[in-house]
């Protein structure tokens, strides 16, 4: 390919140095919280909102918003990494650990993957092993305030050790499945697992 034209004096976004090994390869740290979306903000009224666990489980389970708020909550402080290259450190959330949710159902040993499904039709697929043992939670507060609609409120999944497209906004449930099913972005060129530390952005990476 011919020599690429370089724009005089252009350096791009200021890249911050890796903060004590917390920034995965190819990422840069931001102080704001960029809004990314594939569609208009879904608006389910809270009195109609439910969270469901279904699929390869003993019996599927559904919580209303009121019931969901009664579940044991924790505060989580985590770093998040978006595949579009921004990372945000020390983000603070309140919500329910996925482990807490799974305590209420009987998991079938065939259930190897979860599909997160959401208002607006978005889905993402994650190995079950990546959402248990303290690795994932369903958050309804961000920075001690109710999660804003543009950031996924009333509730979103947060799986900080994978690229943030896996942290499904406007989540309405988790479906346990035996066979993996690529979700919205995984079915169109994005990596099936999305580990930022291995820079698994696109399929084939």
């Amino acid at each position: 390919m011919a020599d690429r034209f370089i724009s005089r004096g252009f350096l791009g976004k200021r890249r911050q140095p890796d903060v004590a090994g917390r920034v995965p390869p190819g990422q840069y740290v931001v102080n704001d919280f960029p809004v990314l979306s594939a569609g208009p903000t879904p608006r389910t009224p809270l009195d109609q909102w439910t969270f469901t666990i279904e699929g390869v489980v003993g019996e599927s389970l559904k919580w209303s918003w009121h019931e969901f708020l009664q579940l044991p909550t924790q505060t989580f402080v985590v770093d998040i990494h978006c595949v579009t290259k921004w990372s945000k450190l020390d983000t603070r959330w309140q919500g329910v650990s996925v482990d807490t949710l799974f305590e209420h159902v009987e998991l079938d040993p065939q259930a190897v993957y979860v599909i997160a499904f959401c208002d607006g039709g978005y889905t993402t697929n994650i190995p079950l092993a990546d959402v248990i043992n303290g690795q994932a939670f369903v958050a309804y507060n961000y920075d001690d305030r109710p999660l804003a609609p543009e950031h996924g409120g009333p509730a979103r999944l947060v799986v900080p050790h994978l690229y943030f497209w896996k942290s499904a906004k406007w989540i309405r449930g988790l479906r346990l499945v035996e066979t993996d099913r690529p979700g919205f972005w995984e079915s169109l060129g994005y990596h099936n697992r999305g580990d930022p530390w291995k820079e698994q952005r696109y399929s084939g990476d």
Partner: protein
């Protein structure tokens, strides 16, 4: 709180005109003036009138009538991925040669 003014997503939304260059790259002809039909609700209109979500890992074009996905495009380092299942058809005007 829930009014249009506070909908950050909607404020960031654009239309098919914003994707004119990418669509021309993919299809080799100008597409924004080209009609298409939503496979979900049947609405017909030029691609320039589709709603576009560009702040995203990919770009999404949606029907302005029913908001279903008409087209999705992902650009990776090696390839462009295109999902046009949401369009009943696409019309590529012939070049005059």
């Amino acid at each position: 709180m829930d009014n249009v003014q506070s909908d950050v997503n909607r404020a960031l939304m654009l239309d098919g005109n914003a994707l004119a260059g990418l669509l021309q790259e993919i299809f080799a002809v100008e597409m924004t003036a080209s009609p298409t039909e939503c496979a979900s609700c049947g609405r017909e209109g030029e691609m320039g009138t589709l709603l576009a979500f560009t702040q995203s890992p990919g770009v999404i074009l949606r029907c302005p009538a029913c908001e279903s996905v008409v087209m999705r495009v992902v650009q990776t380092t090696k390839a462009i991925y295109l999902d046009a299942r949401g369009a009943a058809y696409l019309r590529l005007e012939r070049r005059i040669s």
